[in-house]
């Protein structure tokens, strides 16, 4: 469908009203995970392994339990046995069994009457360890002689002869690779590495859990997905999901890291052991870094062939990704599907292996796998462009994936906006800005497939014609505003007359978390369907009132109208009038929709960055930054821009400074924000944005998810800008000042 075939001229969509939760958030009233208390509440603290890999010989809690005010201590012995598959992995990560698998792995937990007492008691729990050999680097973990972390956990896909820490192998591709490379004028190959990074949400994980001896419980928790918390906690504790009621708090950032459980079941298990008293458990920042879910670290081989005119003739990648000591957490499928997604290439081969290492269980982080893949592939495309003297945007346009072209992972693309994004980037003044000495420009494109997911939304008309919407996707970036806009647009009523509530697990069918850039897409699509259902019912009520056929009633501007002169002459019945009389016209009026929505629109973007590198120190300063991305349709443009800007800055942090630093002892060396350096305000310029709108035909208002793609291009774009500024190509992240300086000096010697 072409852009102009979709309805334009919306009343509300595309406007920028105040977000409904704004007032609570600027006054300090909004309640996050750690902000509530309950009568009789206890506080918990967790004992964590200081070793990267150690057998647990003995746990002695007698001194802790002797402290007055200590109410319960739990170890793995307090959890049910016999779990399998991912449930077992979740339980094993929640609390170590025989072996602690990483620095920070939970070993025991304690509940006491005060926070300080719980912390004191945790220090008194004595754990005897037998230290085992460990490995934390991805390449070292699959080298001969590396300690096998979980022997026997490899699945049948792994080719024979690989190290037992290699647990999954995937491959796919198409075309004649040898012929493709033979047709190229220039073939280059190189290895790229990225370190693990953390989502770095400012709110540490926090929950307040209560569970009785009957296995019935409830929990208040900061999470991207209350049903996931419910299902996973129930599985780990061996209780029925329906008996656990999970209420999401306001969430202080997640970015994928709050889609799973880490310590939440501990509060429930402690509560049960302490006679059902509620237990509050709040992580410290150091616990967040050590024991939640950072990204995979990677080592990636890339080979690309290009003709002198910029045509890419063939590409090949082999990615090695470690996602901690647990299977399933390295985003190898995602990384491979994203690797060449922006290109239409006749011959491609993708291979990847998932590797275990003594690190925490990785979790999703904004477009999981895509930033790393882009760092490797987009950097190499830039290297080829530079060597052949080609414009990086023109080259990308020459090879760009377009509507209907076969994707690098197989299926044909629907309506996509990569070409439009690249063209808008090329037309932007930033792309023509003059550059001075030690300055350079980098370009990269990015992709995320986006996701639909299980979705259930209800909507109810109030007695005054205002509308409550119940959704199950926690609001991480303004989705209550975008959902209210779409609902109000559909119903033809003011934005202010719609209140969107994020509800607990007892109030709706199962919803997947806010992940995969799906909240505005999927909950939005369902809210529009629910509103249409309510409109249908309101038209029927009006028809009954007027004594005409329901088909002869149409809905516009928030009221039922007779559809044309033949339907009869009746004054419109407004939503307020219908709401006021619903008790005598058939009862409450609501709408409901549940589905796993199809029609997810793929997301593409292009970034342009200018940097200046200080040749004396290796420090990189971002001079200007441009994000161009296809939003399909921007429902609330300010929060679309916010996603673009926030994603780009997370990517800049990943490129320049952020990394997990492990010592030779296998311990995390930088578990506070002073040492894990996320971008601060003075590191950055304004982040320019261009919202491209190629409407997604799979959504009633054309929405495609916008949350994730923005983190992807910064990694290669920054590397290419630094290469342009210094002549030195860095193939290992982060590009911190010492590494940049060393690269500049090595080039000088070479």
């Amino acid at each position: 469908m072409a852009k102009d075939e979709l309805k334009t001229g919306y009343r509300l969509i595309g406007t920028r009203p105040d977000r409904p939760d704004g007032l609570d958030k600027v006054t300090g009233r909004a309640r996050y995970g750690a902000d509530i208390t309950a009568p009789g509440m206890l506080h918990a603290a967790v004992v964590r392994s200081p070793h990267a890999h150690a057998r647990i010989i003995k746990i002695d809690a007698s001194k802790a339990l002797a402290l007055p005010g200590v109410k319960a201590v739990i170890t793995r012995a307090d959890f049910p046995t016999g779990l399998t598959g991912e449930d077992w992995n979740l339980q094993e990560n929640t609390m170590a069994g025989d072996v602690a698998l990483y620095d920070g792995h939970a070993v025991a937990a304690v509940a006491a009457t005060t926070k300080l007492l719980a912390q004191d008691a945790a220090l008194l729990i004595e754990v005897e360890y037998e230290i085992l050999p460990h490995v934390t680097d991805v390449d070292a973990a699959m080298a001969p002689g590396a300690p096998a972390i979980r022997p026997g956990s490899a699945d049948p896909s792994v080719p024979e002869g690989m190290h037992p820490n290699v647990i999954r192998y995937i491959d796919f591709g198409h075309g004649d690779l040898a012929a493709g490379f033979a047709a190229a004028d220039l073939v280059r190959e190189a290895t790229y590495k990225t370190e693990a990074t953390h989502q770095g949400y400012i709110e540490p994980h926090a929950c307040l859990g209560q569970m009785g001896a009957d296995g019935r419980g409830e929990m208040w928790v900061c999470t991207q997905g209350q049903w996931y918390i419910r299902r996973m906690s129930a599985a780990v504790l061996g209780i029925e999901a329906a008996n656990l009621r999970v209420t999401p708090s306001e969430i202080g950032g997640g970015f994928g890291g709050k889609t799973t459980i880490f310590m939440e079941p501990l509060s429930l298990a402690l509560s049960k052991k302490a006679g059902g008293r509620p237990v509050k458990l709040v992580m410290s920042r150091s616990e967040v870094f050590r024991a939640t879910g950072p990204t995979a670290s990677t080592s990636m081989d890339v080979k690309i062939g290009m003709k002198k005119d910029g045509t890419i003739t063939a590409g090949q990648v082999y990615f090695r990704m470690q996602g901690g000591a647990f299977p399933g957490m390295s985003p190898i499928s995602e990384a491979l599907q994203c690797a060449f997604a922006c290109y239409d290439v006749p011959a491609l081969k993708h291979e990847a292996v998932e590797v275990l290492a003594n690190r925490p269980k990785a979790a999703a982080y904004r477009a999981p796998g895509s930033p790393m893949a882009a760092f490797a592939v987009e950097s190499m495309v830039d290297e080829l462009c530079r060597e052949l003297g080609l414009d990086p945007i023109a080259t990308r346009l020459k090879n760009a994936a377009r509507n209907g072209s076969k994707s690098s992972f197989g299926p044909s693309y629907n309506q996509i906006g990569l070409v439009e994004s690249l063209e808008a980037a090329r037309a932007h003044p930033n792309y023509a800005a003059p550059l001075g000495p030690n300055q350079g420009r980098g370009v990269a494109s990015g992709f995320w497939m986006n996701h639909g997911g299980e979705t259930s939304v209800s909507l109810a008309i109030g007695e005054d014609g205002t509308v409550g919407v119940m959704v199950g996707t926690p609001d991480v970036g303004g989705s209550r505003a975008s959902l209210a806009l779409m609902t109000a647009e559909t119903l033809g009523i003011p934005y202010e007359n719609v209140r969107v509530n994020i509800v607990e697990t007892g109030a709706l069918g199962v919803n997947e978390p806010t992940h995969g850039s799906r909240a505005t897409f999927a909950s939005g699509k369902a809210a529009v369907e629910a509103a249409r259902q309510a409109i249908g019912e309101m038209c029927r009520r009006a028809a009954a009132e007027w004594g005409i056929d329901a088909d002869a009633v149409e809905w516009k501007d928030g009221a039922a109208h007779p559809a044309g002169p033949n339907a009869g002459k009746f004054p419109p019945l407004t939503i307020a009038e219908i709401g006021a009389s619903m008790g005598s016209t058939g009862g409450p009026i609501s709408g409901h929709h549940e589905s796993v929505p199809g029609g997810v629109g793929a997301s593409f973007g292009a970034h342009v960055v200018d940097v200046e590198v200080d040749p004396e120190t290796g420090r990189t300063t971002v001079l200007r930054y441009l994000v161009v991305q296809d939003a399909g349709r921007a429902i609330h443009p300010a929060y679309v821009e916010g996603q673009y800007q926030g994603g780009a800055v997370q990517g800049i942090g990943w490129a320049l400074n952020e990394e997990y630093v492990y010592g030779t002892d296998g311990r995390l060396q930088n578990s506070i924000f002073l040492d894990y350096r996320v971008p601060v305000a003075s590191d950055l310029p304004m982040i320019d944005t261009v919202i491209v709108e190629v409407p997604n035909p799979g959504h009633p208002y054309g929405v495609r998810g916008v949350g994730e793609t923005g983190i992807t291009p910064p990694l290669p774009a920054m590397a290419s800008a630094i290469a342009a500024a210094t002549g030195a190509r860095l193939r290992s992240l982060p590009m911190s000042p010492p590494k940049v300086l060393a690269a500049i000096r090595a080039k000088g010697r070479g």
């Binding site: 796919f172 999703a364 999981p368 992972f409 986006n450 997810v600």
Partner: protein
């Protein structure tokens, strides 16, 4: 018959075929018949794959399919 495109890694399990023809009028039938005609694929299908139907990921197994539809099996992906 519906043509199902496999990812190339699955050719090991289908005697080298990357496109296999399968009977079926819904996604469910196609996947079931695929496991029957190519039993070596069953563990992969059980462990979870994503299906792209005419360029869009389709999760509803009751979705009707007819000859000429573009069907791809791809590795299952998660979101952030």
């Amino acid at each position: 018959m519906v043509e199902v495109n496999l990812w190339s890694g699955l050719r090991r399990l289908t005697d080298g075929a990357q496109v296999v023809s399968v009977e079926g009028t819904t996604l469910r039938e196609v996947l079931r018949n695929l496991a029957v005609t190519h039993p070596a694929l069953e563990p992969t299908l059980k462990s979870g794959v994503s299906v792209s139907l005419n360029g869009v990921i389709e999760t509803n197994l009751s979705t009707p399919i007819s000859a000429g539809d573009e069907v791809y099996l791809i590795h299952r992906v998660k979101g952030g």
